[in-house]
Each structure stands twice: as C-alpha cells, then as structure tokens.
C-alpha cells in the first residue's frame, strides 16, 4: 500500500489548488447578487440573466467561435499540407522547420504589429477578415508542428501497400495517409482552436470597425472595473472548455488505441 499523504502527492495537490483557485474564486462570485467581489451577498443568477440579455456580448462570443473554428479548419488544411511537403523536402527540411519555428516563438506583439502594418499597407479594412487571416497565419505553424511528427513516424511502406493493392494516388492519400496521421491532425486542429480562442495580442492590433473578439472585449471592459457579468461569462466558458477537453481526450484515446501496432 502506498502512503496517501506522500510529499509528492501533497505538492501536486498544492499546485493544482493554486492553479484552480482564481478560477473557482471567479466562479464563486458569479453567483453572488452583489456587483463587486468584496463579499458574497447571497445566491442569485442575476449576472447570468444580464449576460444572456447582453446581445453585444453574445454576438462577440459567436464571432469569437466562428473565427476560431474557421481559423482552425483552414489552418489545419494548410498546415497538414505543409507538414507533408516539409517531410517530402529532403534537403531543405531543416531550413523550412526553422522558418516555421521562428513564427512559433516570435512574440505575438511583433506578429500583431507586423500584420497591422501589412494590412494598412494593402488597404485591407480592419475587421472580420483581417482577424481571420491573421489567426489562420499564426495557427499554421502550430498545426505543422503537431502534424509533422505523425507524418515522420508513418512508415513509407503504408502508402506503398496502398499502391500495391491498386490504389490511385488520391485513394492512397485519402484512405491511408490521412487516417494514419489523423491523431496529429486532430491535435493540430484543437491546438489551433484554443490558440485562436485565447488570442489577445494579435487580435488587438488587427481588429477594428466595431468587430471584436472575446479576449479584446473582456480586456476593454475590465479596464472600466470588473463587472460580474464577466464572471458569469467566464464560468460558462470554463464549462464549455471542460466539455471540449473531455471530448478531445475521448477522441485521442480512441485514435491512439487504433494507432498501436
């Protein structure tokens, strides 16, 4: 029998407690009837009512989700093709990967500022399209990074076997290559989704014309003093992400099980 209160377990519990404390603090006050977080008045759903009545906020949430889904989808397609191409490029593979990783590590502020300059130079109006394009752009390297290892570990004999059994190039690609790298594609898609959902810095630069995403909106509202409607929203978001993580883990466990030789 292992000791229940070992030092390792205690440390882990402490870490988790500290990480989740602020979130639970936020959630706790979202149910308070007061308007500030300096003392719990009594239980009420009033902040949720204002949240769901706030059409501006709801439309921003929808915008954010649409941007995230579209950006994740498009960047997954481009990033996966990119990973396949990088894997095929024998000589320039390293250089291409370095170029990809530079985009990953460079600060969001720099990327955001450069997009702002780029869009104003081209005369693109700032709004939905500028945000979508820049989100796609910063998600691609993430997808490449998630998909590439899967592409590399896929044995070449798998596509050879498909050709051998009579598959055309397209059939081999769609029926063998894609399913074989699917776990990487899935991981890339979800990573791109979360990156796009949370992005603040890049969006802050390229948004305008009344268009806003959740991160930017919360930031601008928080500057005028915290409103407990934000707490209610955060609670909803927290639950949604909990569900998403659950779905994702179900998916990836299944994917892994099938990938084992």
């Amino acid at each position: 029998m292992k000791k229940f209160f070992s030092l390792g377990r205690l440390f882990l519990a402490l870490v988790f407690f500290l990480m989740y404390l602020p979130i639970f603090y936020l959630i706790y006050y979202s149910f308070s009837s007061g308007s500030r977080m300096d003392g719990f008045k009594h239980f009420s759903l009033v902040h949720y009512q204002t949240l769901f009545a706030d059409t501006r906020m709801i439309s921003i949430v929808l915008n954010t989700l649409i941007i995230a889904l579209l950006a994740a989808l498009i960047s997954t397609i481009i990033g996966t093709s990119g990973a396949l191409a990088i894997n095929r490029a024998k000589r320039s593979r390293r250089q291409l990967l370095v170029l990809n990783n530079i985009l990953m590590v460079s600060p969001d502020v720099i990327i955001g500022a450069s997009f702002l300059i780029f869009f104003t130079f081209l005369g693109v109006q700032l709004g939905f399209w500028s945000v979508l394009l820049s989100h796609i752009a910063f998600c691609i390297p993430i997808v490449v990074l998630m998909v590439l290892p899967q592409v590399r570990t896929m044995p070449r004999s798998l596509t050879d076997a498909a050709y051998d059994l009579g598959a055309s190039r397209w059939q081999a690609f769609s029926q063998v290559t894609i399913p074989a790298i699917a776990p990487g594609i899935r991981a890339g898609f979800f990573m791109a989704l979360t990156y796009s959902l949370d992005d603040f810095a890049v969006t802050f630069f390229v948004t305008g014309n009344g268009f806003s995403t959740l991160a930017v909106e919360i930031y601008s509202r928080a500057r005028q003093g915290i409103d407990l409607e934000i707490n209610a929203l955060s609670t909803v978001m927290f639950l949604v992400s909990l569900v998403l993580v659950f779905i994702y883990s179900r998916f990836s466990v299944k994917g892994k099980g099938a990938a084992v030789k």
Partner: protein, 365 residues
C-alpha cells in the same frame, strides 16, 4: 513459360549503384527466393517488380509485356511487407478487403473473397478483430491474406518472416510453402537467411553487390557452389586453396586426393569446398589427414569441432559424435565430398563443363 523477366536491369540511388546488371526469368507457379546479405540489392529487385521504383536501365517484362514504367497499382503483383504495413485505422477484415474495395467488387463477393483469404492463413474467426488485438504472427498472416485476396499472379514477400521468433518462423515457413502449392501462383521471397531459403524454395537466386552470383535449386547451390562467396554464404564450409593435378585429381596442401571434378586445366589454382558435415572423424591410421582437436562446441543437433592438421591448417567438422579436446584424430571424406571451384567461372561455363564430362562418364558406363 516465364511470367516475369529481367533483362540487364540497372538501378542506382544517387551516386550508389545498387543493381549493376540483373537478368533472370521467373516461371509460373514456383517458389523463388532471392537471397543475399543486407545491402546486396535484393529488396531493390522486389521494389522494381512491385513497381515502387523504376529501373535506370534494362527492361522488365511481365507476361511478355514490358512494364518498366507501369505504375504499381496497375500490376498484377502484390507484396507482403517486412513491417506488414497494415492500415492501423482498419480492422482485420477491412485490411484484407482494402484491395477488393478498390476494384469496386460487389459487397457479397468482397465478403467471400476476404473470408477465403483469411481462412487460407488460418485466421477464419478473426475478421472483426482490431489489429492491436493480434500477435505479431497473426498480423503477419493478415498481411499475407491481404496480399493474396487480390489474386495476384506473383506474390512478393520482403523479409516477411524476419520479425517473428524462431519457432513461429519455422511454422510459417512450412505454411508459406503449403500456401504456395495450394494457390499455385509464383512466390518471390526475399531473405538474408540462408537456412530459410534452402528450406522453402524451388529456386534460389543469390545476389551480392548488385550481381546474381548463382541461381539454381537449393541442392545445386549447396552441393555445387559456383564461387567462394556462395560457398561461404550458404551453409558452413571449409574453403581451401588447391591445385588441379589432372581430371579427377586435386592437390590440397601438398596431398593428392581423388575428386569428381574434371574439365579443368592441369596445374590451375582452384579452391575446394568441403562441408563440415561431410568430414568424418576416425582413427589417425585410417584417416586421410591427421589432426589435433582444438575446440568442441555443443550446438544441440551436433558438435562443432575445430581441429588443425599436421601442416597447421584449420578444419571445421560437424559431427553428432563427441570427441575430446587435445586428442589426435584422423579426418576422412569421400571423393564426392570435394567440390572444386574455378576462380571467376560463370554459371554458364560451369554448366557446360559439368555437361561435358558427365557425358563422358555416361559413355564409359
């Protein structure tokens, strides 16, 4: 009739030439083995037959038609890969049915064919298993079933048994041989394991450094290796430099022995092969050579005994009888146990020489 023919095929990758000049014919319904050390080019030959690579020179014919540039998906050839290459997202049945689905066969027909192929590899009840529920040996069988489900004219097996443990490998050897007889199609099996090649094949082709060293039946290759490489690669052997004295007499280490080879210029420097299991241990008096036992190794079926003769030459002897290290023994062998190899003799020249004096034998008899 030859179903597959290579004529002067060359293939290189970058600066390295893998296949230098390969010509052979494959007949329908036989079990062929391409045998060679790693890096000899044997897998490249298989990839050329399957159509994964194209030759740089020469021509490949299938059923009389040149197929140099015919893509892999248009060839009536299927491959069992070394790593099985099973599709991880599909279950056993779907893997086997993969090729049939691509041919747009009727659902019912696919069902029947896939079940038939699975039954042939003794996996009848496994159709709906997932791949990760199977052992390595069973996955191997699925790979074979998938390849034969398409009813190819030629089945290629690339080191197909090398990932299995010894016992399973032995079983699969017998099964593959049976399967080939049952299906009546040509199998081309690539391996570096000479024992496997000898046990399974009708015909063996020995490849080394991009050339075919020798081809023939297992018995021919074992008993009459054409050169030093083949003698050394196939089985165990004592290879000794010698001189031909005249027809049917060869001089080894200064002693003359009767042999069964002829047609070689007297005085020509040759090499003789004596298989360790053909050497018998006897008393010093009745032996053709006297020697001292240096070491003895028990190997289960026999003992491997290393001895050195009075002139200091080493001999390897395989015997089921044990002896004592340090003991003086005699070595004896029969004239037919000596096989004489000429240096640089081609297979054609060897066959011609053999034919010439075997006819003489015949006339005398």
């Amino acid at each position: 009739m030859a179903i597959l023919k290579f004529a002067g095929v060359k293939k290189g990758f970058g600066d390295t030439e893998i296949l230098k000049d390969i010509s052979f014919e494959i007949e329908e319904g036989k079990f062929y083995t391409i045998l060679g050390p790693s890096g000899s080019g044997k897998t490249t030959i298989l990839r050329l037959i399957a159509g994964f690579d194209q030759p740089d020179g020469g021509a490949i014919y299938f059923d009389g038609k040149q197929i140099n540039d015919l893509p892999a998906n248009k060839r009536q050839v299927n491959t069992v890969f070394q790593d099985y290459a099973l599709f991880p997202n599909l279950n056993v049945f779907e893997n086997v049915a993969f090729g049939l689905r691509l041919q747009r066969m009727k659902k019912r027909a696919i069902q029947l064919r896939a079940q038939e192929a699975l039954a042939l590899v003794h996996l009848g009840g496994y159709a709906h298993r997932e791949l990760d529920e199977l052992s390595g040996g069973q996955q191997q069988r699925v790979a074979i079933a998938r390849a034969i489900a398409n009813r190819p004219k030629v089945l290629l097996l690339d080191e197909a048994l090398s990932a299995l443990d010894h016992k399973l490998r032995k079983e699969m050897q017998t099964e593959l041989r049976q399967l080939q007889r049952q299906l009546g199609i040509t199998f081309i099996f690539v391996t570096h394991d000479q024992e496997e090649a000898l046990a399974m094949s009708d015909q063996i082709m020995i490849i080394n450094e991009g050339y075919i060293e020798q081809s023939g039946t297992p018995v021919d290759i074992y008993d009459e290796p054409l050169n030093h490489f083949v003698a050394d690669f196939i089985g165990e052997s004592n290879i000794i430099p010698a001189t031909m004295v005249k027809d049917f007499v060869v001089e080894i280490n200064g002693k003359q022995f009767t042999c069964v080879d002829a047609g070689i210029t007297p005085g020509e420097a040759v090499e003789v092969v004596l298989r360790p299991e053909d050497l018998d241990i006897t008393t010093v008096e009745s032996g053709k050579l006297a020697a001292t036992v240096d070491s003895q190794l028990f190997r289960g079926v026999d003992y491997q005994i290393m001895v050195h003769d009075r002139d200091g030459h080493e001999w390897k002897i395989n015997s089921i009888h044990k002896t004592t290290v340090g003991k003086e023994i005699g070595i004896t062998f029969d004239p037919e146990d000596i096989h004489v190899m000429r240096k640089g003799e081609s297979q054609a020249a060897f066959n011609a020489r053999l034919a010439s004096y075997q006819e003489v034998d015949h006339d005398q008899a």
